[in-house]
Symmetry: C2
Subunit: 427 residues, 2 copies
């Protein structure tokens, strides 16, 4: 396994050479948002690197796109397609490897020059990585859908008849997707209280642990993307927190689905893990006993269609005490992203570069400690989640911070997503 | 009432001096999309007008924005806000009036010069007028919601308990909003057939007659727009056809709402009627007996919160025969656009310039001939809509064209929306 000469690359870093996630930064010397990759506790400034005389030769597919890393989002890069992403990752991996074939560019460059390209993560500011045209949230977390269905409709009607036949989803709100670290205001909303409609700050504010997927290249209106081609449409993945106001949702959601309960904010991680970085971590999704074959347009050639990503949720109280309240895995999905894309485009709906798809809340099959939302952990607010120091929650308090984390792989080659974090401030 | 010197302005034109709707055109001499207003059977090319030496003096609020009409969408102009739109409309109305204070600019300009600015509508090509960040479809057509509720859930549960308390809506798909005249491919989708899931072209393809509203200026995330301020957020209105695949919708819509049944295409008119042009046509919306007061954030100071716009739907068969299948009025709404905006932003959801809101399907209280969808006209496909020449429809056939029309006002001062038209081509 390749090692890196970058001093901040430790054996346990989730930003190993095997990862190289892309993000959008501003730096002390450049206030225009532009592209970077994370490596160890550092970032490689791709805009600065683009100005190196060797850049066109090292990155042949970018020779015709010299400004692609100077853009304020990753959209232009994503639109170049997966074969280009693959070549660019390989070239970056070489430059950052101990045995790089081009030591003069970075490894053996004068320290002053290297320090312009390689900055401590603590010195950069992260921005929303993509310009998101449309955001769609699916509901592919099987154990979540079942458990929430029980709460809203009872175990008999928990999963609707369509659930195992198509990837259920709804259109979300693109304008309120924000990058990790952005504060989330507790939403005011309309809800039922003692059977009467009333308006006020949500009393049942929750998070949802999800995996997000960004589109690299889409399809033209009227055309569909086959499930076997869909993989080529994917740019990469982020952690996603679909903040949810459960009291607002319960009152508004019939018959047209969630609206104000969701559109006040969705947080995504700052680092996009490219699709190729997850290829080595494929596994099988949820298997449902007695489930017949799915419709032809949803049938995938491979069984290992989801990813074995370990996920954790931390709750930090206003006092600053942190408890890991959930540990689960991104494999607990009934539908893969290629299936979601095939279904989304079946009728000709166009996907565009930068579109965001959410997996739906990811929960394990077991107890509260492996569930992806407080709604499930507390069984609809009936039980409490215990926190450090005898504190407890049913739903989120003002000043609480939720931090999602996710990673796969072994020490020395870990692939992680960085934090997806948001703090609640008062209505 | 002011008259126009423009020869193509007839007494019955819906593009009278009282209207002056904005759109995006390309012309024989300029293939870059740019702004225009419609007047009679002509268009005034605003990009060409912007280059007139008198432009900065005639349009003082645009002096600092000399390129605002050279943009490929109206977003930059919309973002300047309603006071600017008002001044610009007034200045345009003057230039186009018989008794203009500035005859040299257009009226008495040399014919060759005038012909560069004033073109026949037949010579220009229309484009999507706005860049749409997010599209939300509401459900404020009371008679539609009631009638469809009866079909899906029976008369007892036709209107959900929340319906009269909040403007029910869902997030739609922005990427598939297209301008009038764009072909719409019949969607393939998953549906139940004889109780079994199956995949194929929709057999129950329908239209929905709606009014669309474009946002001029929005709000910051975490802030809300009060119902009394919301009027200032509105740029203007278009007709909107929310194409709907009823068989797909019936199978997919629980529990998260419509998705593939809607996201294959939404057609909007090419001409945006600015909010000020409709001010004179205010009227009261639907009054529901025994309805209590709405929540405070939805309470409007004025009763006349919707618009008295006559609406018509034409169905043209593949053979070219046209039947007007519906005549109704935009006043049949339970909720106004300011109420929709106040509700949408109550929890802090940010609206952005160019965002599109749909009213929901507009139907009258009476018979099939005043309903805004085939679903309602045919009572869920049980009856037929009779067309010219003994033809009939339950749902749309390949090659059918749906044309929506809408106008208000008297001859000489009509304010109309132009056609919102789409033709179905085969799956
Ligand atoms: Ca969700
Ligand atoms: Ca609709
Ligand atoms: Mg959300
Ligand atoms: Mg639609
Ligand atoms: Ni290229």
């Amino acid at each position: 396994m390749a090692t890196s000469w970058v001093p901040s690359v430790t054996p346990t870093t989730e930003f190993s050479l095997a990862n190289l996630p892309f993000g959008i930064i501003t730096t002390p010397s450049d206030p225009s948002p532009h592209a970077a990759v994370a490596i160890g506790a550092s970032v490689l400034d791709l805009k600065v690197l683009s100005s190196h005389p060797a850049f066109p030769a090292l990155f042949p597919p970018l020779a015709a796109h010299p400004d692609v890393f100077a853009q304020p989002t990753l959209n232009a890069f994503a639109a170049l397609g997966r074969p280009v992403h693959r070549q660019v990752r390989a070239a970056l991996r070489d430059l950052l490897s101990t045995d790089t074939a081009h030591p003069a560019v970075l490894r053996d460059a004068p320290a002053a020059e290297r320090d312009r390209v390689l900055l401590p993560q603590s010195q950069v500011h992260m921005h929303l990585p993509m310009q998101i045209g449309d955001y769609t949230d699916f509901y592919a977390g099987y154990h979540h859908a079942y458990r929430v269905g029980c709460l809203f409709r009872g175990p008999e009607a928990a999963l609707q008849p369509n659930y195992t036949h198509l990837p259920v989803g709804y259109h979300g709100r693109a304008s309120s997707v924000v990058v990790s670290g952005t504060g989330i205001r507790r939403p005011t909303g309309q809800m039922l209280l003692d059977g009467e409609p009333t308006t006020g700050p949500s009393r049942r504010l929750d998070f949802e642990l999800e995996l997000g997927c960004f589109v690299a290249r889409g399809n033209r209106m009227g055309e569909k993307v086959g499930v076997e081609e869909a993989e080529e449409c994917i740019f990469g993945y982020v952690l996603l927190n679909d903040w949810s106001a459960r009291d607002v949702q319960a009152w508004e959601y019939v018959p047209l689905g969630p609206f104000c309960a969701k559109n006040f904010g969705t947080t995504v991680g700052a680092w996009v893990v490219l699709a190729d970085a997850l290829e080595g971590f494929r596994t099988r999704g949820v298997q449902v006993e007695g489930r017949g074959e799915v419709q032809g347009y949803l049938r995938e050639g491979r069984e290992e269609a989801v990813f074995d990503v370990r996920l954790e949720v931390d709750l930090t109280t206003p006092e600053g005490d942190t408890t890991t309240i959930s540990r689960t895995n991104a494999k607990h999905l009934l539908w893969s992203f290629p299936q979601m894309i095939a279904h989304h485009t079946l009728g000709g709906c166009p996907m565009r570069t930068g579109d965001l798809l959410g997996s739906g809340t990811i929960s394990g099959p077991g107890g509260p400690e492996e569930r992806g939302s407080l709604l499930e952990m507390t069984e609809g607010g009936k039980k409490e989640v215990l926190l450090y120091g005898m504190d407890a929650r049913k739903f989120l308090k003002d000043g609480d911070t939720i931090t999602l984390r996710g990673w796969c792989g072994q020490d020395g080659a870990r692939v992680g997503f960085g934090e997806c974090r948001g703090r609640i401030y008062s209505a």
